[in-house]
Structure formats: C-alpha cells, structure tokens
Symmetry: D2
Subunit: 333 residues, 4 copies
C-alpha cells in the first residue's frame, strides 16, 4: 500500500512522521507548493519523493491512498479527483466547505468502493475514548449539557472562521459521545479583521431531549483554555486537555429535583461525592488514526472517524454559519 500526502505544512509534518513509521504501508510521495519544503522532507523521511504538483499524487497509478492536508477550500476537489482515480482518501478536518460537497464525496466513495475517511484526531485520544467508555457504560447517566471552551491566541485562518477551525474538534467529540441527533443550531460571533471572518464565536446546539451543547471559540484570548464539561444526571465529567496527565475528572456530583405539590417550589437535592481521575491510554492519537485508516483500506473495517461522522460535523458548521449570517436565528438541521 503506497501512500501520498498532499500538504506538508504544520499538520502535514505530523502526518508524514506518522505515516513514515506506519507498518504495512509505504509513504512514497509528498506534495507541497513550496519547493523549499523538499529539503526538510529529505531529513524527515528520506525514503519519500517530493513534488510541488498535487496531481502527481492524485493521478499517480502507483499510489493507493491519498492523505489531504491542505486548506479547507481545496479538500473537495483533491478528494474527488483522488476517489475518481480509484484511490482511498484520508482528508483533514473539516471534510469540506459545505454539505453538498461532503455528500458528493460520500456518494463517489460509496460507488467506487474506496475508503473516504476524515481525520478527526481527537476521537483517537485516550481522553475521548475514556469519556466514550464512561458514557456507554452508563456511568454518567442521561447527558444534560455539554460545554466546551477552546480559546487561545491563535492563528487567524484566512478562509474559514474560528468555528470551522476550532469548534470542529469539539463538534466531532460531541457527535461521537452522544447517541442523539441535534435538532437546532444557533451561533453568533464577531470579526475584528476587515475580511469579516469571525475570530470569536459562540455556538449553541440543541436536542429534543433537552440536551444543550455550547461552544466558546476564540483566536484572541491571552490565556489558552481547552476545557469541556459534560453533565449527566448520574455524574459529571470535566475534561481539561491542558493537564499533562490528569485530563479527565469524573465528579460523583449531581442533583435531583422535584416540584412540590402546589408546584410553586422546586426542591433540589444536591449531592457532591468523590472524584475519580482515570488513567488514560497514552499512545499517540495520530498514530492510532493512521492505523485505523490503514485497516479500513486493507480490511474494509469501518473507521472510527468515518465519512459520515465527517458529514455530521459539516452539517453543524454550515448551520452555524447560516445562523451567524441571520443574526443568531435558530437554524433547524
């Protein structure tokens, strides 16, 4: 299985490092428009060739699988061309710029029988897998809310707003952890640059069950925060991704409420108990993701971060963009 990677920037470098070390696959070709990256590739993975032309990969008969790590607006075209040329495709998150493109790619993948997978790396982290396990084992109970903050002094993206850049991660986690499908989306934000692209934005997602999910994203914060709260009616989880090892805390904390007979008062029973910090699996998420892709290609196994999960993320992002344009109007999905 020969692999080509298109895009050798910050994330592409991580992909090259991981696919170069992946057993059962050969990284043979890497494309980047900047010729000066050739030398660095020589150091990082001497076995791979370099090209400035992405079509040398998408159209190459010796390449079996294409990894796409380019700006979002190019994903659709490169993935489509690769799939059409009978190659398996792994595309960076978010999968595409809109739902239509994503649906079309899924359609081509299904017809061609070639794998289409999205790199939502977070799903492969020990922290997210532990949360999935806790929720699936019904230790948390019915989920009541999901609250995510992902802010720092970050790179302003020129083509997508801060939700497409940062919330993508958290939405993929939300979708992975929750079995229910969301019903409505609301978003608002502000752009402090002249191109009108939001650098601070807030997103709320609602569900029929009463579950509410909220995302606070910013490229303009002096402090870096990566925190997620998940509240169930049994227990609550706090996920602080900046903690070096103690990322997940499970609080045996909650409340039960009932209305008294004349319905004028809410009686709430609070409970604050022990806290439990599970040990997490520490294998590198990106390496697990690469292995998952290889297995999908080789054995036809459904990858964790498959094309439909990629589409579900796009659905929420596109709805959020519509909501922002309509001044925060609730958008049904």
């Amino acid at each position: 299985m020969n692999i080509g990677i298109i895009g050798f920037g910050y994330w592409g470098t991580n992909l090259v490092r991981n696919f170069a070390n992946l057993s059962g696959a050969e990284l043979t070709l890497v494309a980047d428009s900047r010729i000066e990256r050739k030398q660095f590739l020589g150091k990082l993975c001497p076995a791979a060739e370099f090209t400035t032309n992405p079509y040398d990969i998408t159209d190459n008969v010796n390449i079996d699988a294409v990894v796409i790590a380019t700006p979002v607006f190019t994903h659709y075209e490169l993935a489509k061309r690769s799939l059409t040329n009978k190659k398996h495709v792994l595309v960076e998150k978010p999968m595409s710029s809109d739902i239509k493109q994503a649906e079309e790619l899924i359609n081509i993948s299904e017809k061609s029988g070639k794998v289409l997978m999205v790199d939502h790396t977070y799903l492969y982290t020990g922290a997210v897998r532990k949360m999935k396990e806790l929720i699936d084992n019904n230790q948390i109970g019915n989920i009541k809310y999901f609250d995510s903050t992902r802010i720092n002094l970050g790179l302003f993206q020129p083509d997508v707003n801060v939700l497409w850049d940062l919330a993508t991660h958290d939405i993929s986690i939300l979708n992975y952890l929750m079995s229910e499908k969301p019903t409505t989306v609301q978003a608002t934000g502000v752009s402090h640059t002249s191109n009108g692209i939001e650098n601070i934005a807030y997103l709320t997602v609602k569900y029929n069950s009463g579950l509410i999910a909220h995302f606070n994203c910013s490229w303009s914060s002096p402090v870096k925060i990566r925190m997620m709260l998940i509240g169930g009616d049994k227990k609550m989880i706090v996920f602080n991704d900046l903690e070096p090892t103690e990322k997940i805390k499970v609080y045996d904390t909650g409340y039960e409420y009932k209305t008294d007979e004349d319905k004028t008062k809410i009686l709430v029973d609070y409970r604050a108990g022990d806290i439990y910090i599970p040990k997490l699996e520490t294998r590198e998420a990106l390496s697990l993701m690469a292995t998952d892709f290889r297995n999908a290609v080789e054995n036809g196994e459904k990858p964790l971060s498959d094309m439909n999960s990629g589409l579900d993320v796009i659905r929420i992002l596109e709805a959020s963009q519509r909501s922002i344009k309509e001044r925060g109007k609730e958008v049904t999905i």
Copy 2:
C-alpha cells in the same frame, strides 16, 4: 441615621454584619418572615430589634433608610412603599423584575429626593476597581471583547433564571467598565426542571463598535469557575475571582492585523510580552458599599452603584429573557 433591613437570609446576614459595624448609622430593626431567625439576630447584633412584618420597617417613622434583601419579585413593592414613606432605599441586585418597575422606582426617588441605590457589590471589590483604573487610564486600549464564565453547582432559584441570578453580577461589571452602550442582546438556555426556569443560559451582548460580550452561566457545573477575560487592542485582562490574591493578570499580549494588497490574506502580528499582577485593595467590598450608601444619604453624593446602573442591568436582563422566549432572536435595546 436609623436603618432597617428587610430579609435576614444568607445575604441579609452579611448586610446585618456590615451595617451593625458601620459608623454614623444605627441598625435598629431587622425583618424576616421566619421567627426562628430572631435568636440568631440576638447573637449577631444584640442592639437591633426583630420583626416578622416588613411593613414595620417600611412604615416606621423612626427609620431613615431601608435595606431590602428579599426575593427579587418583592423588591418593587417594598422599595416603592419605602420611598413613598420618605425613606432612603438600598435594594439588592437585581433592582426589580422588569424595566417598568425600575423606571417607576427611579421616578419616585427623583421626586422624593430620597436615595435609591442598588447593591451591585462587585463594583466595590479591589479587582473591579483595579480593572476600571486600568481601562480608564487607557492601558488596555479599545476593548474588543468581554467574556465571562460564572458556573458552579448552585442553588436553583425558584423565581428567576440563572442569568437574573448570576449574570447580574457580570453585567453590572460590564456596564461599569465600558463607556459604550450596548445595542443588541441574544440569549439561549435550557431548563432541566419542570418549572421551565433556565438553570443553564448563555447571553451575548453586542455594541456598535464591534465589541462583543458573552456570558456563560450555570447552576449545574461540578466545577466552580469565576473567570472574566477582557481583550483590548493594547493589553488583555484575565480576572479569576477564585484566586485568593492574584485575581487580576494583565497580559501585554495582542495582535495587529492588516490586509495585504490584494485583500486575500490577513497578516497578523502577534505579540506576547510580560504579565503584570497588580496588588489589589483588600477592604471588604460590602463594607465599602455600605459606606457609599451612608455617604449618599448624608451628603447627597452619587453612589458608585446608583439606581441608573441598576436600571441598565435590568434592561439587558429583560432583553435576554425576551430573546430566550423568541428562541435566541436578536433583541435591540
């Protein structure tokens, strides 16, 4: 100057303690519907009498000033009756349940010449006063965003939602620190109780200048967070109220951006410099607030937390409630 306090619950206890120690004023009467509180008052302030009837205070010819620390829905009636009976009034936050009531109270106060003041205690803290000083001295520059998180496992209020309970504090700080007036409000939230009162809610306030303010409030979080970020184009402030002494951090951090000539790219210059943690005044805020009220009554000085600032908070809260009802619609104020 004789003072009566109506409401001897959690916060009323703090008020009794502070007014009992305030020089130039006598706390003579305290009202609470629960007769069993009488004994505790005897321990805390033996010099004060106790009554279960609030009108013993509002209608008492020997009382000059009334402090109201009862549930929100009673503020209007008690404050109105006190003002009408020619008493100065200090009312707990929020001032009233709606704008109309607040405007009427202000009207009565102006006609009667009696002080009407709202207890937005936070404005008297060393942290908020330091932020005011930094902003007024133009050390922060033009404010671009304001982001507040106030969450914990808190008491579910039976009559008002979590914004009226918690965001009130942060909105009073926002209004105090910003010279600009807000233009629109959006809010959304969820109620996990059968009375339909939101226990988790999110509020966004926008301004003509592009300033955006966001509030994340919850009674249902396993962790307690009290954090405020204020981003200016010169520096940024992080206010963490749970830090015992290092509450305010001023980051000499920011970015400048420009669009390149063909307008396809945003060029951003990041800057991360020193951090400065100013020493804060540590006198108890509530004691300063009580003194401010006494001075307002005695000398006619305009208090920091005056009735108009109380009204401005109500304006945003009422608009937030309308927005929640209209499913997050942007409401102009």
Copy 3:
C-alpha cells in the same frame, strides 16, 4: 461546666467563638492583658465576662475548665496552676517549651484526675481523618516517606522558631498517622533577624523501618504552600491544604524493585494508575476539638489530641532544637 479562656488574640478569638456555641458548656470568663479587647468580647460573646488578670481564671472556684491560648513560654505556668487548682485544661499547641515541663504537667494531670489536652486542631480536620482512615485500612501500604512543606510570608514569632510555630502542626499529623515511633532527628535552619531565632528551618525525622519524614518550614516565602506527600508501597497521598475542596488525592502509583542476579542493577517496575479524590467531612475542626474536650471532661473519654500526643510533639521539637544548635548533628530520641 463553666469555661474560662486565657488569651484573646487571633486564635483565642476562634476559641471564644467555638466555645460560646458549644452546647453543654458555658463560656463565662475571658482574660487578655489588653483592656481594649473587652469591647470586642462584648460583641462576640456578650454572655462572657472580661478580665485582664489570668489568675482570675486559674484560681476561680466557679470555673471548671481552662483554655490557654497565650504565648508558648507561659503555657507551663498557667496549665500547672490551673491543674493544681483542680481545673481541666486545654492548652494551645505546642503544649510547653520543653519536655520536662510537659512531663510534669502530665504527671499533675494524672494525679489530679483532671483532663489535660492539647489543641492540635489539624487532627480534627476532614483531610487528616480521611488520611488516617486510608492508612489504617491498609490502602496505602507500608509508609516509606512523609514530606511536608509549610511556607508563607508569616508572622515572625518572638519566642519560638519557625519549627515550633509551623512544624508543630505537621509533626502532630505525622505522629497521629504513623504507628511507628521515630528514632532520630536532624534539623538545620537560618535566622535572618538579630535575635537568632530561625525563620527558615528544615527538619528530618528517621525511623527504624526506613521511613523518613522531612519538614520544610518558612516565614519568609512569597508564596504560600501547605503540601504533604505520603508515600506507601501500595499507594501515595498528596494533601494540598490550599485546595478548597479537593485537598486529598490518592494516587494508585508506585514502584516495585528487585536487584538482578549479579546485584549490579536495580530493576524497577513503575505503576501509574487512577487517582481518587475522596469527599471530605466539612465540619469545622475547631468545633469538633471543643466537643472532644467537653466529652473528655464529662465522660472521661480519651481525646484524640491528648496530653501524650502533645508530649510526643515536644520530644521532636526539642530534639530539633538541639540538632540545630549542634550544627545538624543527628539526635536520638
């Protein structure tokens, strides 16, 4: 049971507050050399009388029990006089200035049949009781080390060094938690004042089993640290007293070692597992201590913080002082 308190300073105020609220006992008299404290007593506990003469308490036929919260060098004389006058005695930590005094007081107490108890308040905290429970239930295993840091910018005591002031707490905890008796003590420190009293000092206590305990104490640190590590061969405990609620963390962490056959290598198996943060009892420690004293007086129950535990603390403190004088020499106890 009538109680008199001698010493109405910082800690005396806490004692007055607690004994005033203790059922089954009457706080009738408080002594302090500063006449200006009389007024404050009137506010805090109107039922108690005030005197500037401590002997009004020690010699008072109407007083059953005396609480002594004066400087260390006065403990012996006041306790002795009280015991001799057939009063029960609760004395602040450390019990006395040297072993001889402590032994004599214990002797008088035993002869007179009156209670002598030392206020090592920490033993009554939820955190210390939880650690005791974990160790006694053999969840931690054999204790290998105990490491305590108690530093801050603190009040320089004029009569005792920083170990007598601060390590006293930690030594009382050490003695309470460990069943083994220590064998040797070493200490060193430095005085930055002209009176030669150490404001920074380090203490090491050793045991026959190989257990080592170390104490780092300072009145001169810009940061406040209250941290204790307890390492067992099963699990390890971290006690951070500055955490508002999550004070105790139990790490399922450890290592097993063996020497390989030719004895040139140590093979160590590390294990890092889950972490558990138990919920702690939150009743005020001082109130539990006061109750324990009352029960000891009334029912003859042995209090948790009894006179012998007080003596054991003095033994280590006195040995530490000898070691400091002999330039860190190991002193056997």
Copy 4:
C-alpha cells in the same frame, strides 16, 4: 570541525539532534554499545556513521571534538582519553564521580589547550538567564535563601544517588546565580532499594553571609514538582519549571525587621506588592549550549558552563555524599 558523540541513549538523542543541526560543525560519528541503535541513527542523522566502540571516537584523528553522554562513572576515563588525544571535550553533567577526577581533567585541559566543558543545560534556559539578569541588576537585593524542590516518579539510577542525578541541575543554577562561595554542606536521605543508593535525599548548603540553600530531591513522588524559590531582601523569585510559559514570577514582597530598644521584640514590616511575570527567551537551551561549545572551540571564548563550574558542582555533591555517610554531619568545603 568534526564531532563525535559517545552515548546515544535518551539524552544522547537530544545531543545528536542538536549537533546534527549546528552550523559550522559536522556530526560524523556516534558510538553506543547497543548495535540496535544504529538503525535509529540512520533515521535521525543519516550523515553520521555508527560504532559500538567508543574508542573509535576518542582515538580518531579525524574527530576534533568529543561529546560524552554516558553513565557518570565512565566520564573520567573517556574525557581523559579524548583530551589526551588532543580533542575538545563536552561532557554530560555531572562532570565526574569525584573531585580528584574533575581536577585532573581540568589540569589536562589546561595543559593541552583543549576545551573542557560540562553540559549544565539549565544555565542556557530563558528562565535561568532571566533570573541571572534580575539578580545581577540588583532587582532582588541580597539573597537570603534558595529553596529547590525537584521530585517526581523518576528513573532510579543504578550508579549514583538522587542528588547526583537531580540536585546537579539545581546546584549548577545556584552556583551560577550566586556570587558568594558556599562554606558547609549537610545532607541526609534514605534508600528504599537493596543497593543502598538514596532515592530520596535532602541537601542544605550554607554561606558565610547567612544565605541558606536547600534541595529536596526524590525519584519516588507521585506528583512532579520543579520549583525554586529565591528570596532577596528586595524581591523574591518563584521559578516553576512546569508552567508552560509563566515560569518566573517576581514578587515585590518582603519584610524589614528591627529589634526594639530592649531587644525583647522583633518588629517586622511586611510588604506585599505587585507581581511581575517576565516574558522569557524561548530558544532551545540545548541548541544554545551546543553553540556555546562550538564558539569555545573555534574562538577560545569561555563558555557559560565551563569546567570550573562543573568542578564546583562536584565539590558540593561529593561533600553531600560524605555528609550522608556521616549521618548528616556538617561538612566544610
């Protein structure tokens, strides 16, 4: 300038990475006894040859400079052979196993005119250089104490105790920052393994001026702490190496004391002011160290971490070992 590196373990890997990228020098040969490391070298630095024989480097006429990253007990022999063969030498910390060896190496270096330098990498970090700058600019005042804690669940070294492994870092920082020379050393510790090598140890260093330095080192702590306090009579520094960016905090905190006239009381004036967190230089310390070595070889510049600073560290470590053996006796250096 051709460079050979002996020892390609954990730290040797970092050295290979840095010397492979150092301009003005060629990494031509790497030695490690484990043949299986050859393949990894091929990936990391394809230009360098591999050997299992260290003498292929020390005796190689084409090699100008030798970098030694082997266990401590081999440093002396390898450095001596390299210097004798007219090679410049960079040796890992600590420089040697005892003072005699260190002095002999220095002697050979001086006679041969070849550079002998020790890799005390910490001296090249932004944090340590900032502290040096603050102290040299007299912003901290006269240093009164230095307190270092370096504990974690660490690798038990088979040949040296925890002070030789961990305190080495902090002693090199101490010596670099202080202009005064230490006079006495005391140490104590405990071994929980059958080889008698201390895995927990405490070291105290004293100076004529009254300055005291203390080091708490452990391989057996469930939590990782890397903290240093430096107290001056003007300001105090806290260096927390685990903070990602805010490593250095400068506290405008202190106290002045005087004795009152009858010398019975110490009057202390406390002062707690602002805190300042300077931005630190972020270039990799190891790269700066490698450059410093190259410059020393090429231009004869005295490196920051020169052989005499290496000897000064050994002096304290050797004295600490003597003190431990003599049960904590104070040892003069």
